[in-house]
Symmetry: C2
């Protein structure tokens, strides 16, 4: 038995190095915590909800053994957690509105975060219910939402197919109308292997209903394209599969393994006619298809609602990066390596956090973690205000232009793409910058990273989104070019408005502007960075427009010209996001200074904004040098300014991650503990591995013994070299 | 039961799209296979060894269920595989030299690769035995190596400690000499928690001996620094722990989980005096410490041997990247998405591989996968030839200068750092570019990536190595500056020789050179890229030297100036590697054209070399624009030239990954199969998940049923909002 492993248990006394770091801070971390929770009341509420989970007497939420369990056991545990979570929600009224109806509640999201583990059925609430709210008609909503609220119906959103990802038009599943003596019905069918539904979360094992996206064939045999159909997949009595339905789990993934992402094959499954979501179109009992006349506002609300998912993704990027930097910066403060030569004979080691290349890896990510928060908030508020405007309109009155819709689409697309890319890479860089121990599951980073890795791919693959961004921004160029004053007026109310003026100037072939900084000190000004980002985005966009135009004039097909420009589109999209991110960062700090932040906190966040700007200017230096916007001298100043800002951020680094206020329960990291007793925690965790449960270890008797004792490996001299 | 999942099994007929791709190739993939295997005989030998594993009647090597097993079971299976592998080796004489003595055999490495799974005890052969060969004296070798050969002694190399990574000087484990009536002995002790040995592979469960790096305290109580001590950790009879030793596994990691990386605590463990490895120093029975007089050549051979590990790491980077690109390029050829607009009404979808941004992601990685191969080979040959020169010297005759040793150190350090960074990021980008299915374990990419991720950290953390590179290259600058002709003569025989001339010119403040390309077509010349890399490396190096010098003159401490330059050191190191990589790529193709490659193959590899060069010029465009070496116009031509090269590589892409000649057994990827029947393979794999073993799935009865049937989630209207 390995119980003789004699390891000191964590001391629960804070590592003095961390205490010193905390004393260095020039600001009050609590005020930033309130900012992240929206208000001090928000922080209080979160603490209350966290305590419900962390102190739950059932102990079902304990995550201590997560890393040591087989995937199947983790899935089972996560089901147990979910049932208990719903029990808690019911007991405190989370999820009900004032009339006992269903409410998609922010408290519910907070509780999900507090659980600090992925729960399969969460998607019911996060994707399935909103889908019904968007696409079902009033009568359907009344019936279905009650079942959803009571957790009788557990649903998933089944769009992608084995052979078809984001290209919705290529989906093969069919829903064919069949007239009968009664109301009529649909036959849902998977005609090919590639048409199997594949990937939907909770489809495999947990859900009993699926909102299936299928090609509608109406009563006349006409293909009406994609529509949504509610298909019951499992019995409500015993969870057995419904006739003609086969579902299962798609197997282990790089991360997110509690979730039963599933596949489904539908073999001529019969569903009632009224299972088609009928808010926007109906098929009547004779099989006649009809689009409903929906107010412009109503259809746009629907669109806007869908775009909110992207603002959540940006917020999730911030959250994940804040967790990653919390772990890594705390550990880099307590981890020591390399002797101080200046100390002479003394054998004191450096804190890793004092090395400039470590600061250069981590502080820009720290800055990004806050930066993304402000953009997520801004975009969310933006979408909410559009939604409110639309809600308060009388029918058919148009209040939001196509341009405004396009602009917000471009904004969310480029932000989704850029923030998830930076976060995925950034988390991995956090892990690498923890050295060997970042490789340990007990560091908390592997699971954080691997579960995060879905984000660059879902809700619009990061490689594809830039095309959509560019398509919209090219419209702006065209409107400016053709001097369409009405359109320009619309653009000027949008996020992309900053592009109008420089695009205009470039199209008029005005003199190329350049950065006007003339001393190193002047470079320490965030508006210099913002102007540079503005210029760069406009320049890349206009170049792209000119290039496509020129190639088409030369006789290339539009498709070929477009394909040849795809690489640059990624750069345009990135440039657009960087302007928006920095601009929202600056505005956000200003805004928050009127409420929760004091001047010290605003100053510290301002340092991060400046570091963020300078870092990305140097990172993309070629794009600022190529047209002479920056001179070599200015670029050199930018580099030196980065070093200045790293020094400035250094004393506040630990306090800035403390401000995230993640409990140890949530971080699940031996390296990121608040008390900094990392080595005790690592050993404590290692003891739990099942490989240590017997002495000698598993596999010795059956295998290793044959080699060492039985002599399988002994040289006999009889083998001739083959 | 889920056995009713009715999935078509793979057709074992090649996907016609892949057949078409293969017909497009302009060269013979077999000839490139021979290059990668060193000769056609090498390919034949590999095929023979592969067949021993893949067709082994015991079926113990089957990897089909790997993704579905708990870590403990995978560890056990890997022990079974290892024992069987040794049995096979014994039967064909692999591992024995002609006299029945131990031989670290390339066939053994090939067999390890063929197993396509990580085997814990492999490190015995790869790290432990070479360590004995380097550091033990003749008598010790005689005794120990026999036990190693017979697999009685299974060893590991125990250096790093819980609180101390690569800073060897900070290690805390002690080996204190104690005089006794007989021969004297050492006491090995772990005085603190942070001194626990932590990380060594196979230390936890598999090995029975450890080569422990400890601080030697001799008979006079004098600290003699780090030395190696062979410590028996487990009984040879029953694998039980030796008195005073506690070892165990350190727990799960982001990857490489078959391996029992371990910890060890030594509580005053007594070992014989002669357990200290005594090739370079001895402690006699009275406790007197003495360094041995070793020939300059002998100590250098030792150093050179250790550096070979880095050449293996570069080779492993090539191998991993070749696997990643094989999977991704094949899948991108058969995966279709987005309708062809040019086809009018036809509903044909594009091959993903036709999108320029997909080519831009994958082809430079394809190029890198070959590029790294040539550098690994070159460095390996380089080290071997130095070793041979040293072997053929009479004692004390010096034949290889300190400069030459430094140069090869800088070369291996920068190549290790750059190639492992590019490979780790590149594999992840391969995964992302497979869209959703790259997230599946059955794609083969998650395990490939996660096990690879140790490489940027081990054998010199990538973030630290650039300092060592720069330290050495600054010596070159100094020698050039001080016009030390003897030293310059030495440098001119080295890998860094290309730096001498441009460094000289810069120090003399000659006119800054610039790229002389004057048409777009002239940019399609790999020597243009090579010259650019040469200039960039020299410029960054000289700038760095000047900066440190200037800051010290201004009164900063050297340590502060050095710390402030760390970020730039990373850039110098990268610039140095890029020159070496491209130069070795070009030379390697030329060399191979004399033997295995025909003109067609050389041309195709030449296309990759040019793409590699152009890609990295654009990627780092700022560094080429900032001093005017490239003009904006030239940089634009470089971009267009990349597009030209992507087009050129496109028809050969599938054949170029076929040339790697990985069997499906080795790739373990549903997406990368030679026959391209990816969707059948994905479903085939999904069926195996234990979550699909019962219907309804695990956890329904205990948990989910409470929610759906028992009504835990039903709204009761009694909860008041808390």
């Amino acid at each position: 038995m390995a119980s003789n492993i004699d390891i000191p248990t964590p001391r629960h006394k804070v590592n003095p190095t961390l205490t010193e770091e905390r004393l260095k801070a020039t600001f009050d971390p609590n005020r930033i915590t309130h900012l992240l929770d929206d208000s001090s009341a928000g922080t209080k509420r979160r603490h209350y909800l966290e305590s419900l989970i962390e102190n739950d007497p059932s102990n079902v939420f304990n995550n201590d053994n997560n890393n040591y369990l087989h995937r199947t056991d983790r899935h089972i545990n996560s089901l147990a957690k979910f049932v208990r979570l719903i029990e808690i929600c019911r007991s405190i009224g989370v999820g009900d509105d004032d009339n006992g109806l269903l409410k998609v509640d922010t408290d519910f999201s907070t509780l999900l975060n507090c659980v600090a583990d992925d729960l399969p059925a969460a998607l019911h609430w996060v994707m399935f219910v909103p889908n019904i709210l968007s696409l079902a008609d009033d009568e359907q909503q009344k019936e279905w939402l009650k079942m959803c609220r009571d957790w009788k119906m557990i649903g998933c959103y089944a769009q992608t197919e084995l052979g078809h990802g984001s290209n919705v038009r290529a989906l093969e599943t069919t829903a064919t109308f069949v007239k009968d003596k009664n109301d009529g019905h649909f036959i849902i069918n998977s005609p090919t292997l590639t048409s199997f539904k594949f990937w939907p979360g909770t489809l495999g094992r947990t859900s009993n209903h699926a909102m299936v996206i299928a090609r509608l064939i109406d009563g006349e045999g006409i293909d009406r394209g994609m529509h949504n159909f509610l298909v019951q997949t499992r019995s409500l009595d015993d969870h057995s599969l419904m006739p003609g339905v086969v579902c299962g789990d798609i197997g282990p993934k790089i991360g997110y393994n509690n979730m039963d992402n599933g596949f489904a094959k539908f073999d001529h499954v019969k569903i009632p006619r009224r299972s088609m979501a009928m808010r926007f179109a109906v098929v009547d009992r004779n099989g006649v298809y009809k689009k409903k006349i929906i107010s412009d506002a109503a259809s746009k609300i629907n669109y806007i609602t869908m775009m909110q998912v992207r603002s959540y993704i940006v917020r999730a990027a911030s959250l994940a990066l804040r967790m990653g930097t919390t772990i890594t910066i705390r550990y880099s403060a307590v981890r020591k390596q390399g002797f101080k030569t200046e100390m002479g004979g003394m054998k004191e080691e450096h804190q890793i956090l004092d090395y400039k290349q470590q600061q250069y890896r981590l502080f820009p990510l720290l800055a990004a973690s806050y930066c993304f928060f402000f953009s997520a908030k801004r975009v969310h508020d933006n979408l909410k205000s559009i939604e409110n405007r639309l809600m308060n309109l009388s029918n058919n009155q148009q209040s939001i232009s196509k341009i405004e819709v396009g602009d917000i689409h471009a904004t969310t697309s480029c932000l989704k793409s850029f923030t998830t890319a930076i976060t995925a890479d950034g988390l991995e860089d956090c892990r690498k910058s923890c050295g060997g121990h970042g490789f340990l599951a007990s560091s908390g980073l592997p699971e954080l990273i691997n579960s995060y890795l879905q984000n660059p791919t879902v809700e619009g693959d990061n490689a594809m989104l830039p095309m959509q961004v560019v398509k919209i921004l090219l419209k702006l160029v065209k409107d400016v070019q053709s001097k369409d004053t009405k359109a320009i007026g619309e653009w000027s109310k949008c996020n992309s408005s900053y592009l109008i003026e420089p695009v205009q100037a470039m199209l008029n072939r005005n003199e190329i502007p350049s950065c006007d900084v003339s001393t190193r000190e002047d470079m320490l000004d965030v508006s210099v960075c913002l102007k540079a980002f503005q210029h760069r985005a406009a320049r890349l966009l206009v170049n792209l427009a000119n290039q496509i135009q020129a190639e088409v004039m030369e006789g290339k097909s539009f498709e070929t010209a477009w394909n040849g420009a795809l690489i640059q589109m990624g750069r345009v999209s990135k440039a657009h996001s960087l302007y928006l991110l920095l601009s929202n960062f600056i505005d956000g700090i200003k805004e928050a200074s009127k409420t929760v932040l004091g001047p010290n906190e605003a100053r510290v966040l301002g340092d991060l904004a400046l570091l963020f700007g300078l870092y990305w200017i140097e990172k993309d230096s070629g794009e600022f040098l190529v047209d002479g916007y920056f001179s070599a001298q200015q670029m050199q100043w930018a580099h030196v300014s980065i070093l200045v800002m790293l020094d400035k951020v250094r004393p506040n680094a630990v306090a800035l991650v403390d401000a995230n206020d993640f409990s140890d329960f949530r971080l699940k990291s031996a390296l990121g503990r608040f008390d900094g007793n990392v080595y005790e925690a690592i050993m404590e965790s290692a003891k739990k591995d099942p490989l240590n449960s017997t002495e000698p270890g598993p596999g010795y008797e059956e295998h290793l013994k044959r080699l060492i004792v039985d002599g399988v490996g002994v040289y006999t001299g009889t083998a001739s070299r083959l």
